[in-house]
C-alpha cells in the first residue's frame, strides 16, 4: 500500500520535473527544433513527445539512475532521440569494455595487411 503510494508520488514528481521546461518555453515563438524536423502536426507531437520523455526517464531509472539524473539526461535529448530510446533501451548497444579482442580479429588483421599491401 505504502510503496504504491510512494511510486505514484515519484511518477507525479517526475512528470512535473519534465513538464517544467515546457512551461519555460517562450509563449508565442515557434521553436527551431520543431522546424528542422518536419512534422505534420506540431501540437500533437508535443503531447506525444512529452509522454515519451516521462517514459524514457522512467526506464532510465529502472537501469539504476536516480530520478534527478534520469530527468536531467532526458532533458538533454532531442525529440527523435527520445523516440529512439522509448521502449528499446535494453536492446541498444551500450559501449562498455575494450577487453576480449579475439582470434578472429587477428586473422582478419592478417588478411587486411595482405589486401592493403597488395593493392
Amino acid at each position: 500500500m505504502r510503496s504504491s503510494w510512494t511510486r505514484m508520488l515519484c511518477r507525479l514528481l517526475m512528470v512535473l520535473m519534465i513538464w517544467t521546461p515546457f512551461q519555460l518555453a517562450q509563449a508565442g515563438m515557434i521553436g527551431t527544433d520543431q522546424l528542422v524536423v518536419a512534422s505534420a502536426n506540431a501540437d500533437r507531437t508535443t503531447v506525444l513527445e512529452f509522454l515519451g520523455r516521462a517514459d524514457v526517464a522512467n526506464q532510465l531509472q529502472s537501469f539504476g539512475l536516480d530520478a534527478k539524473s534520469a530527468t536531467d539526461r532526458v532533458a538533454a535529448m532531442t525529440d527523435q532521440e527520445v523516440q529512439m530510446l522509448a521502449g528499446k533501451i535494453n536492446s541498444m548497444p551500450a559501449g562498455a569494455d575494450s577487453t576480449g579482442i579475439i582470434l578472429l580479429l587477428i586473422i582478419v588483421g592478417v588478411a587486411v595487411w595482405w589486401i592493403w599491401f597488395r593493392r
Binding site: D33, Q34, P93, A94, D97, S98, T99, V112
Partner: protein, 335 residues
C-alpha cells in the same frame, strides 16, 4: 632409402594444402566483402587528405571498468575546450545496470556542456577527414564474438601508407589498428561515429541540414548563448538558410535581445515572405517590444499562410488582437 609416402597419404597432404589454399582465399575474399570501405580506400587516398595525421595533443583518459563511454567523451570534450574528467561524466552517460553507455546519451551529454554533437555520415572517408581537420572522432566498435562487446574509442590519427588508424582506446593510449580490422568491428555498430564541436566551429564533413538540426538540439535544451554563437557561425557558411535565421532570432529572443531578433527576422522575411514561422515569430517579437499595431499584419499573414504551424499562428494572432483591444479583433478574424 627413399621414403615415399604411400599414395593415400600423399593424396591427403596435397589436398590439405589445396584445401588450405582455398580456405585462405575464401577467407580473404570473405574479409574483403566484410570491409567494403577499406577496399575502396585501398584504391587511392581521397583527394585533399594528407598521407598521415596524428592529433598527438589529444588528452587520454584511461578507462575504468565498463566506462569507456565517459572516457571517450571526456577525450573529445577536452579537445573541444571543456575541462571535464571521465569521472565527472559517469553520472551523465553511464547506465549502471547496463554496464555501459548508450549512443544517444553520448550525443546528448555533450550538449550539457555547451557543445554541439554531430553524428557523422557512415563513411570511413569522413572519419579521416575529421581527423585531418583536427577533430578527434568517437567511434563505436564491437570487439566481442557475438552481440556484447560494444566499445567506444576515439580515432585520433591515421597513416595511409601503412593502412592504420590510431585510437585512444580503453586503457591503451595509442592503439594502432589496421583500417580493415577497424572497419569490421565498426561496421557491427552500423558505422556509428560522432564528433563534438565548440559553437564557433563546423565539422569538416557537416551536412547543412543535419548540422542545423544539431545546433537546434543545443538550442532546445535551453543553451541560448552558445546556440546564438552556433547559428551565427552557421549563417557565416550558409547565409541563405532561413531556418538558421529563425534559430538565431529565437536565441536572441530568449536572451531578451528583442531588437536583434527583430532585425534577423525582418531580413529573413524579405527572403521568405511566406514562411509561417518567420511571420509568426516576427509578429510575436514585435508584440513583445510593445508594437502590437505593427505586429498584427504579420500575424494575419502567418495565419493566412496556413500549414502545420497554423494553430500556433492563430494563437499568436489572437493574443495580439486581444492586446490591441476588442475593437477590431472579431471583425478581422480570418477563418
Amino acid at each position: 632409402m627413399d621414403l615415399v609416402p604411400p599414395l593415400a597419404i600423399r593424396f591427403v597432404l596435397d589436398n590439405a594444402r589445396f584445401a588450405a589454399g582455398v580456405f585462405i582465399l575464401a577467407a580473404l575474399s570473405g574479409c574483403a566483402s566484410l570491409m567494403p570501405q577499406t577496399m575502396e580506400l585501398a584504391k587511392g587516398l581521397p583527394p585533399g587528405l594528407p598521407d598521415k595525421v596524428e592529433l598527438t595533443e589529444t588528452p587520454f583518459f584511461s578507462q575504468q571498468r565498463y566506462q569507456c563511454g565517459p572516457a571517450a567523451l571526456a577525450t573529445v570534450l577536452n579537445t573541444a575546450g571543456v575541462k571535464v574528467t571521465d569521472e565527472d561524466l559517469v553520472p551523465e552517460v553511464y547506465l549502471p545496470t547496463r554496464e555501459g553507455s548508450l549512443q544517444v546519451e553520448m550525443l546528448a551529454a555533450a550538449r550539457r556542456h555547451g557543445l554541439i554533437s554531430y553524428q557523422l555520415a557512415p563513411r570511413f572517408e569522413d572519419v579521416l577527414r575529421e581527423i585531418a581537420a583536427g577533430t578527434p572522432v568517437v567511434v563505436l566498435q564491437n570487439l566481442g564474438m557475438f552481440s556484447s562487446g560494444w566499445h567506444y574509442a576515439v580515432a585520433i590519427g591515421y597513416d595511409y601508407e601503412k593502412g592504420t588508424l590510431v585510437l585512444r582506446s580503453g586503457t591503451q593510449e595509442r592503439d594502432v589498428m589496421p583500417f580493415g580490422v577497424h572497419e569490421v568491428v565498426w561496421l557491427r555498430g552500423g558505422y556509428w561515429a560522432m564528433v563534438v564541436m565548440p559553437p564557433d566551429k563546423i565539422p569538416a564533413t557537416a551536412d547543412e541540414n543535419r548540422w542545423l538540426a544539431s545546433v537546434a538540439a543545443l538550442e532546445r535544451i535551453g543553451d541560448a548563448r552558445n546556440s546564438r554563437t552556433a547559428y551565427r557561425t552557421f549563417l557565416g557558411r550558409w547565409p541563405e538558410n532561413v531556418n538558421a535565421s529563425i534559430g538565431l532570432a529565437n536565441a536572441h529572443h530568449s536572451l531578451g535581445e528583442l531588437k536583434d531578433a527583430e532585425a534577423v527576422l525582418r531580413k529573413a522575411e524579405s527572403r521568405a515572405p511566406d514562411s509561417v514561422v518567420v511571420l509568426n515569430n516576427l509578429a510575436q517579437t514585435l508584440s513583445d517590444l510593445g508594437r502590437d499595431q505593427e505586429a498584427l499584419p504579420f500575424a494575419e499573414r502567418a495565419v493566412a499562410a496556413g500549414g502545420p504551424f497554423a494553430g500556433a499562428a492563430q494563437k499568436t494572432r489572437d493574443a495580439i488582437a486581444q492586446k490591441l483591444g476588442s475593437k477590431g479583433a472579431g471583425v478581422q478574424r480570418l477563418q
